[in-house]
């Protein structure tokens, strides 16, 4: 792809950082200025992401054609070549050359939607936090840092840089929850969240460093196989993928078990902690509930996708043999996510906990899509990442708007809010219908291929446990997972009825009024993509193929 004259991706990362620094230098009374700078930075980010999105989408068919040519060729590293051809807006500067670390950015078909999602959530987050009066400038600064970190992960093409931004995102998250969160829960939830995610990422990091040495050793032994311009030891994603494709990670590690089989669960699950995979999801509902609205939006909307994204990019893409062995049992965990998460959501009394657990349930579908290891399922997973991001951010926005006015989230004491806040009611209903997979909205477009992919995978995947082979169980799992849809419909209807329908008690809530124009804009910004993708999946599904083809190629699945 042709290079663009200016470093778009670096701008996407450094505009928020720069804005955060400027905001920190403001006087503490200059709240409006802080807000103004924050929204400007977020809006610039959204503009740049849209530019990237449109630009990439226009080139997607060309890239796919190129990838198909590569796939037909005889290349030993076809998957890596396909992956490299999908990278756009590439920037590369040596950072620590001695260790093979470079500041290497780029986007493929999966990261482009994620970057757009992050920028949308950033704008929405700044707008819903407009009324924060307590230490406004610190809030805005940390929020922008968080956004920068998240975008950094999505665009990094070097694993060191990826971890760098990954940790950068967690630090402001802790402060945001612990300082501006819900008083009753915030210290506990912030600590729990941070520890969970840190432990997960440390485990992944150890795995990645092990991969780094194994790949380095491999290329030192086979110097002819190194890509032009690379060195033997490097953290580059493409570099590691090349090593994986050439079989570097098949060396025996414990007895005769290959390296990739041993490390895959650690790397994948380490990141999957952030994606809320059962049984590591425990931090997420508490974290969502304790966080201030804007942070919940980023947190559930984007941060959980970060885990899924990294699990795919580092786990599946770099340790494909491990994925083939381990995903067939990890799928059971995802099933628990989907069904049990929905069940727990149904049992909640707190409005925000319902949404928190619904995220756990929906993120299970993303991981389930990965576990299918075929085009349909992976496409669905990619669509679900975007769809769930926008939808859950919309949900948390709605919850925040109701809570700001009613000062309670206790479901039985709410009721009839659609009469005073029609916009919020309609937005919540659209989000709710998306979440239960109503056709015409993006949730259906995402869930449909995941389930279809499960059926398709059923014939090809089997699980070996100590000589016992379980085969064709995906088709059974998908039928159980479908129960999650019914449960989702049940809790969405229940919450909609309890909060928005019925009679509104004016005596109980004398001050509740309609939302402002600013908040309406947030609802439109997050709600529109749900309908657009639901009606025209073509705006995203073609683009996703550019990322899915290389991943499937390295898995050895056509």
């Amino acid at each position: 792809m042709e290079a663009i004259g200016f470093p778009v991706l670096s701008l996407l990362i450094f505009v928020p950082i720069l804005a955060a620094v400027i905001i920190l230098f403001l006087n503490k009374d200059q709240r409006d200025l802080a807000r103004g700078i924050a929204i400007t930075a977020a809006a610039v980010g959204l503009g740049l992401s849209l530019f990237v999105y449109v630009n990439y989408n226009n080139n997607a068919t060309t890239i796919i054609a190129e990838q198909e040519l590569i796939a037909q060729g005889e290349s030993q590293t076809a998957a890596t070549d396909m992956f490299e051809s999908s990278i756009a807006f590439e920037e590369r500067i040596d950072w620590i050359p001695a260790l093979g670390i470079s500041y290497h950015l780029g986007v493929d078909g999966l990261s482009v939607p994620m970057v757009l999602l992050t920028s949308m959530a950033a704008v929405a987050g700044v707008l819903v936090s407009w009324k924060i009066e307590d230490r406004t400038k610190e809030f805005m600064a940390f929020f922008l840092l968080l956004v920068a970190g998240v975008i950094g992960v999505f665009v990094s093409m070097d694993l060191f840089v990826l971890f760098f931004f990954y940790e950068l995102a967690i630090f402001p998250m802790y402060l945001l929850i612990a300082t501006w969160g819900w008083v009753k829960l915030r210290e506990y939830a912030a600590m729990k969240l941070t520890l969970y995610i840190l432990i997960g990422s440390v485990i992944s990091l150890v795995g990645v460093i092990a991969m780094y040495f194994v790949a380095g050793q491999f290329f030192t032994d086979n110097p002819t196989l190194i890509a032009a311009g690379d060195q033997a030891y490097s953290f580059g994603v493409a570099h590691m993928m090349r090593a994986a494709e050439l079989g570097a990670f098949n060396i025996p590690l414990l007895g005769d078990i290959p390296f990739s089989h041993v490390w895959f669960p650690f790397v994948f699950l380490g990141f999957a902690v952030l994606a809320g995979l059962f049984p590591f999801h425990n931090w997420s509902p508490d974290g969502h509930v304790a966080a201030p609205t804007a942070v919940s939006m980023i947190h559930a909307g984007v941060l959980m996708k970060l885990g899924a994204f990294a699990a795919l990019r580092v786990g599946v893409q770099l340790l494909p043999e491990g994925a083939l062995v381990h995903l067939p049992w990890i799928v059971f965990l995802t099933l628990i996510n989907v069904v049990w998460g929905a069940f727990i959501a149904f049992r909640q009394r707190d409005f925000k906990y319902v949404i928190g657990f619904s995220s756990v349930s929906h993120m299970g579908l993303v991981a389930m899509g990965f576990a299918t290891m075929n085009t349909a399922g992976m496409t669905g997973a990619g669509l679900q990442m975007f769809s769930h991001g926008a939808m859950t951010a919309l949900f948390f926005g709605c919850v925040g708007m109701v809570y700001d006015r009613a000062h309670t989230r206790d479901l039985p004491s709410l009721g009839g809010f659609i009469r005073v806040m029609p916009w919020v009611g309609i937005a919540f209903i659209i989000g709710g219908l998306t979440s239960m997979g109503m056709p015409g909205l993006s949730g259906f477009i995402a869930e449909f291929p995941i389930f279809a992919g499960m059926f398709q995978a059923s014939e090809n995947i089997s699980l070996n446990i100590g000589g016992f082979t379980l085969s064709n169980y995906y088709a059974v799992l998908v039928i159980i997972a479908a129960l999650g849809i019914i449960l989702t419909a049940a809790y969405v209807l229940r919450v909609t009825r309890q909060v928005f329908l019925g009679d509104f008690d004016r005596a109980k809530y004398p001050d509740v009024d309609d939302i402002t124009v600013r908040e309406r804009f947030v609802l439109i910004l997050l709600g529109a993509p749900l309908i657009i993708i639901g009606v025209a999946p073509g705006v995203m599904d073609v683009m996703l193929q550019t990322a899915i083809k290389p991943a499937l190629a390295i898995l050895g699945v056509p």
Binding site: M438, P439, F444, S458, L493, G502, D541
Partner: protein, 533 residues
């Protein structure tokens, strides 16, 4: 044929949605909103009528007005629309009923924008189902039509509306779950969601050619499970006994326009699904022998016929027992849709046998063609008469605010025009020769008799009871001593309601006397469809 450079069927699907959006965003001015919605609905009706008459009966083999464009490439689904004679008549029905429902919807004073927008949006859902030639598109619109109906009942219904709407929604959504899974399974396995292509390939699918297995179980089991997914979903929608229990509640609580569309259009989605999908996709499953407890051998087509007849008889019984006028009409829908189901059962048996044995005797096929024609006709006729009945029930409810027939009585004295129309519509529903119901029920019975003789005879019993409950409804409402509680109430039908029911009355008469303009379109498709197995 294209309108504003948009393919005419796509226009019929999307125009109502756009119109709904416009109506929703109009200022809160009742006059403006009502007229705008009516104008939009009339446009829909006009285009539907134009499409119907532009549909060419001379060359019915295959679909017409076909359009196929890429939509969701990753899984091979496309925006694929087209109509044959069966869908053409359903498009016509939907088009006719939409403006009438809107006109009746004028009586809603609370949030009229939203109400009329939902009525229009419902049309998008049902039109989408009738024109879809892609399984995924079919499913999308099938589900989508639930949403506006849920909110119509939930927000504007009678006092028990929360229960009724939730029951309706969970029932329907739960019912489509199996259909969703079956859709995904079939589509992804065949690599396409195009209905014509699936119809050609899926019945011959054998899975692994070595052992006839698929997904680790015999292919026939997979097919039976997929069949059941569709079967249950459509049975709930039709509704076939015993899947009908949501219907009386939903109808009883729905606002009048909601009831009209629910009975007039929505129930047809289920019957249409049987004809378009379940019969052609699973011909062998319908006739595969089933051993019940080791001593009765039967098959799904026969079981379906038994359920259909039970619907006819028990629906009529239940209707007879009602004192609530809307529930009476609701149970009459169960009764009348039973005949549709009976016709479908005959078609399924003939189609299945023809597929499995490579042909059936011409007499059987002749019966099946008659019965299928009757079933489709009955769908059309029931759409007219049930919408009319609900309109009339709603008209009286709107004035008296009670649905309890024991509180009525002698209304004919005070409302002679209303009474006349009520009797006319009831007679059409009853199947009086010369009116529309007779034509279709006769065809179904004539077609079913040689195939399911005993069952058809039993269904005649239901027809007798139909007479009973219809007369009881007339007697309870119009005849007897006038209830003086209503002496100051204006009971006569309003001009607006009169305008809304007039097209239905005219159509009932025309179809009854000269059914050929509908029947020929249906017959051409049915004949080539069943004849071409």
């Amino acid at each position: 044929m294209a309108i504003l450079n948009i393919d005419v069927l796509s226009f019929l699907v999307f125009f109502p949605a756009v119109a709904a959006l416009i109506v929703l965003l109009l200022p809160q001015n009742k006059f403006l909103v009502r007229w705008a919605a009516l104008v939009f609905a009339t446009v829909i009706a006009g285009v539907s009528v134009a499409v119907y008459f532009a549909y060419n009966t001379v060359a019915p083999a295959g679909y017409q007005f076909v359009l196929q464009v890429d939509w969701f490439r990753a899984i091979g689904a496309s925006w694929h629309v087209g109509i044959d004679g069966i869908s053409a008549s359903m498009v016509l029905l939907t088009g006719i009923l939409t403006p009438l429902a809107v006109l009746i919807g004028w009586e809603i004073d609370e949030r009229p924008n939203m109400f009329l927008a939902l009525v229009l949006f419902f049309t998008t859902g049902s039109m989408g189902v009738f024109v879809a030639l892609d399984l995924m598109i079919f499913f999308i619109f099938y589900e989508l039509s639930l949403v506006p109906m849920f909110f119509l009942i939930n927000q504007w219904g009678s006092p028990n509306r929360l229960y009724a709407s939730t029951k309706f929604f969970i029932y329907s959504m739960g019912g489509t779950l199996g259909m969703l899974l079956a859709t995904q399974l079939i589509g992804i396995t065949m690599g396409t969601f195009s209905i014509p292509e699936l119809v050609a390939r899926w019945p011959d699918f054998v899975g692994n050619p070595d052992n006839q297995a698929f997904l680790g179980i015999p292919v026939s089991t997979v097919k039976t499970l997929a069949f059941l997914g569709f079967f249950v979903a459509f049975c709930i929608k039709v509704p076939v006994w015993p899947f009908h229990t949501w219907l009386p509640d939903a109808h009883g609580e729905a606002p009048t326009p909601g009831s009209m569309l629910l009975a007039g259009v929505m129930l047809k989605l289920g019957a249409y699904g049987f004809l378009r999908l379940v019969i052609p996709l699973f011909p062998d499953v319908w006739v595969a022998p089933i051993d019940l407890l080791g001593f009765v051998e039967t098959n799904w087509a026969t079981i379906f016929a038994i359920l259909a007849v039970l619907g006819v008889v028990l629906g009529a019984f239940a209707a007879y027992g009602q004192t609530d006028i809307k529930r009476l009409v609701a149970y009459s829908s169960v009764n009348h849709m039973g005949f549709v189901a009976l016709g479908i059962a005959v078609a399924a048996l003939a189609y299945g046998q023809a597929y499995v044995n490579g042909g059936v005797n011409p007499e059987m096929m002749q019966s099946a063609i008659l019965a299928t024609n009757g079933a489709v006709m009955q769908m059309f006729n029931h759409g007219l008469s049930s919408a009319g009945m609900f309109l009339l029930a709603g008209a009286i409810y709107h004035k008296t605010h009670t649905r309890d027939m024991t509180q009525y009585g002698g209304f004919w004295v005070r409302a002679p025009i209303y009474g006349g129309i009520f009797i006319f519509t009831s007679m059409a529903s009853l199947g009086l020769p010369g009116l529309n119901g007779f034509v279709s029920e006769f065809l179904v019975v004539r077609g079913a008799y040689p195939v399911f003789t005993v069952l058809t005879v039993i269904s005649m019993l239901g027809l007798l009871l139909t007479g009973g409950y219809i007369l009881r409804g007339i007697a309870g409402t119009l005849q007897g001593p006038f209830n003086m509680a209503w002496k100051n109430t204006r009971l006569e039908i309003e001009p607006r309601e009169l305008i809304a029911i007039a097209p239905l009355v005219v159509l009932m008469l025309i179809v009854g006397i000269a059914p050929n303009w509908v029947l020929s379109v249906i017959n051409a498709t049915v004949t080539s469809w069943l004849g071409g197995v």
